[in-house]
């Protein structure tokens, strides 16, 4: 594990360093670093939550490649619920968005229930089951999106109504504190405070994702529930013999996984941008799976890997600010296309196992027959 953490730290440092190199003439390095770290944490949120979804499913023995679909469902239904609450039932913005988050969780959980039924009760090939989830989610969200918003006879008369917005950024007054300490509104001391604030001030789902990483880790490795979950994923026959209900544990954990994936979807439409587009998850569910594998099926490892992918995405976003400053010999970086490929290529490199082999739970992907 240590080898992998070092790899992650080196790559993140390299990615941040390259942005600093490009932009240091225009903006103080400290500000750039803070901006990169802040963006990394934010954009890693759906990956972190997706990876946690995978950890719970696979620790209990169910391979979940349907995270992408559950995330998409969460994004769409969360957004849809927030709009309904806001423009049809007349709730104000914040309660509408919170109801949206709830709807996202429920829809993620329902798709997970379907996956659980397929793979646990009907013993379908689990990778096919996950693919079914993905295809159904694309179909359902695409159909409803068109039917509800773009058809003349629909509730909204062929117009996408105004979404109630996104969750607010939480503010912790570090800058103000530093202002008092430094006694000035400028200078390095003040910039440090400001930069720290930039990193710490995240939105609610991003913060809950980090909290959930540690909560999940505690549950999996320090509670009876966690022990039972892991035992049905490693050796269901033995677990069954000592009286653990294998089917119940698997169902419960897959549904918990669905809640995580739904929350990841909520991040996309209720925290990041207030709009939905078909296929907007754009592979995040699969990258999250790679993060889970790289993190060796542990919450904290998966989070570290998610941050790695997040920083690759943050690189693309932050380089946009400094487009004009990129020197000619690094002109290829101007093509956001080239930088945009980084997460995908990183995923493939990581999966080759050059940075350490990982071991899945022993009964991962195998249906249990009593």
């Amino acid at each position: 594990m240590a080898k992998r953490f070092i790899f992650i730290i080196i790559i993140i440092a390299l990615l941040i360093g390259s942005v600093v190199l490009v932009g240091y003439k225009a903006v103080p390095p400290l500000v750039i670093i803070a901006s990169m770290v802040a963006t990394t944490i934010a954009v890693a949120t759906p990956l972190t939550l997706g990876a946690l979804s995978g950890v719970f499913c696979e620790r209990s023995g169910v391979v979940n490649i349907g995270i992408e679909g559950m995330m998409l469902a969460g994004a769409f239904f969360g957004w849809l619920a927030s709009i309904y609450m806001n423009s049809i039932f007349g709730f104000s913005a914040t309660p509408s968005i919170l109801m949206g988050v709830l709807a996202a969780l429920v829809s993620g959980g329902l798709f997970a229930l379907l996956l659980a039924a397929l793979s646990i009760t009907f013993k379908t090939d689990q990778i096919i089951g996950g693919t079914v989830i993905n295809i159904l989610a694309i179909g359902v969200t695409g159909f409803l999106n068109r039917q509800l918003f773009f058809e003349k006879g629909s509730v909204f008369g062929g117009q996408v109504p105004h979404a109630p917005g996104v969750l607010p950024r939480l503010h912790i007054p570090i800058t103000e504190l530093f202002q008092q300490w430094c006694g000035a509104n400028t200078g390095t001391c003040f910039t440090i405070g400001e930069s720290l604030n930039k990193i710490v001030d995240q939105k609610p789902i991003a913060i809950s994702a980090i909290v959930l990483v540690f909560v999940s880790s505690y549950i999996l490795f320090n509670t009876r529930w966690g022990l039972r979950t892991r035992s049905v994923g490693e050796h269901p026959r033995a677990a069954d013999t000592v009286g653990i209900n294998v089917y119940f544990m698997r169902y419960a954990n897959v549904i918990i996984g669905g809640l995580f994936a739904g929350l990841a979807g909520a991040y996309l439409t209720l925290e990041s941008v207030p709009s939905f587009e078909p296929l907007m998850t754009n592979g995040r569910g699969f990258i999250a799976l790679a993060a889970m594998i790289f993190g060796n099926w542990t919450p904290i490892g998966a989070w570290a890997a998610a941050l790695l992918f997040g920083s690759a995405q943050a690189l693309q976003i932050n380089l946009q600010f400094f487009r004009e400053l990129i020197p000619p010999n690094l002109a290829f970086l101007q093509q956001s296309y080239v930088v945009g490929l980084t997460p995908y290529i990183l995923t493939m490199i990581i999966l080759t196992g050059v940075v350490g082999k990982t071991t899945p739970p022993a009964a991962d992907g195998q249906p249990y027959v009593k």
Binding site: V140, G353, P360
Partner: protein
């Protein structure tokens, strides 16, 4: 988990037995389609449409006239190739979700051969060379793009499911970059991301005047037969199926499993690349961004509905092609968005994959061995 081959017994009533087993094999897919259509009908009714009218429209639009049939064949052509690509990989125990990307790369490569190569060489290439060349390059790019995750699987154990998906994103981003940049149609009237039109010498002719169905459809049928021949009549095909059924047994039988994994993926990608190339030289005469969205996922459904058998794939592809084609008329008649077809197709896949649900609803006893298609992350 072990999959096993169905044994063919040489008994007197073999023809009858074959017929019976074909009927048995078709029963679950048929009921899956039926159940999905019933649920689809409920969804259409809930959305405020007339389900009967919608399905009549769907059928008319798909098979109701020579033009409808021609358009269905046009839709079915890439579906046959792409479905065969997924089915072939399944036979070798591999899940190729990367058909989408392989298809797009094959299409863009064939388009380049079609529009740029004559100018580059400064000659007019005769059709007899130009068409095979465009197809060949399309196949090559598709094959290479699939062989990469194949090699990663064989030599590092990295699971092909995630890698083919990653290769999809890399391919689609690359194609989008090419079509917006270096390969963009320079025509002053053009605002979309597309290549210039390919030369006349690179185009596949239509079969009938006034109808769009082209020789690519016939080629697809021939290729389906070739895939069947490869899988069941050659040593290589036997090896592919053995590796798919039980890689450990294959290894002990002296088969080079690693080489076969790469080869199977390359074959699969070749078929996907062929799908893209044929779309360009037979139908669109250029590659345009977004034309192929969704073929990859549809191909998985088609391969599973066809029970990974080439004949089944052809039938499933014609069904899916018909649904996509007829959906336009359905929307015209009932104002139900064409996207409802995606839900119905998803449901078909659901019921085919989880055939226990179908067996439970219709009380069918299990007669055949379960199809084991993929395994967990361990390979």
């Amino acid at each position: 988990m072990q999959g096993s081959e169905t044994k063919e017994k040489k008994t007197p009533g073999r023809a009858r037995q074959l017929f019976r087993s074909a009927l048995d094999a078709a029963l679950v897919p048929f009921l899956a389609i039926f159940t999905a259509l019933v649920i689809g009908g409920v969804i259409i009714a809930l959305a405020g449409g007339n389900s009967i009218q919608a399905y009549v429209g769907l059928f008319e639009g798909a098979f109701g006239s020579p033009k409808a049939l021609s358009e269905t064949a046009v839709w079915a052509t890439p579906y046959i190739f792409a479905g065969l690509a997924v089915a072939l990989a399944f036979k070798g125990g591999l899940f190729n979700i990367g058909v989408e990307g392989q298809l797009a790369l094959g299409a863009v490569a064939a388009a380049w051969v079609g529009y740029a190569l004559p100018g580059l060489l400064g000659i007019t290439i005769p059709a007899i060379i130009h068409i095979p060349l465009a197809i060949g390059i399309g196949i090559l790019f598709g094959a290479i793009w699939a062989a990469i995750p194949g090699a990663l699987k064989a030599y590092t154990g990295a699971h092909e499911v995630i890698n083919t998906i990653m290769m999809n994103y890399i391919a689609l981003n690359t194609v989008s970059f090419l079509l917006n940049g270096p390969m963009k149609d320079k025509d002053p009237n053009n605002v979309s991301a597309r290549t210039p039109e390919i030369a006349l010498t690179a185009r596949l002719p239509a079969i009938f005047p006034d109808l769009r169905v082209h020789w690519g459809f016939i080629l697809a049928l021939i290729v389906a037969w070739l895939v069947w021949y490869l899988l069941w009549k050659t040593t290589l095909g036997f090896e592919i199926r053995t590796v798919g059924a039980n890689p450990d047994a294959a290894k002990y039988a002296g088969i080079n499993v690693k080489k076969l994994i790469v080869l199977t993926m390359a074959f699969s990608g070749a078929l996907a690349g062929l799908a893209g190339a044929i779309e360009v030289i037979g139908l669109n005469y250029r590659h345009e961004l977004g034309f192929s969205i969704g073929y990859g996922f549809d191909a998985i459904a088609i391969a599973l509905l066809g029970k990974t058998h080439p004949l089944g794939v052809v039938l499933a592809a014609i069904l899916f092609g018909g649904m996509r084609n007829g959906a336009t008329r359905m929307q015209f008649l009932t104002q139900i968005p064409v996207d409802v077809i995606s839900i119905i197709q998803g449901l078909i896949l659901l019921f085919v994959a989880a055939d226990e649900i179908i067996r439970y609803i219709y009380r069918i006893k299990v007669k055949e061995e379960r199809l084991v298609l993929t395994r967990g992350w361990g390979g």
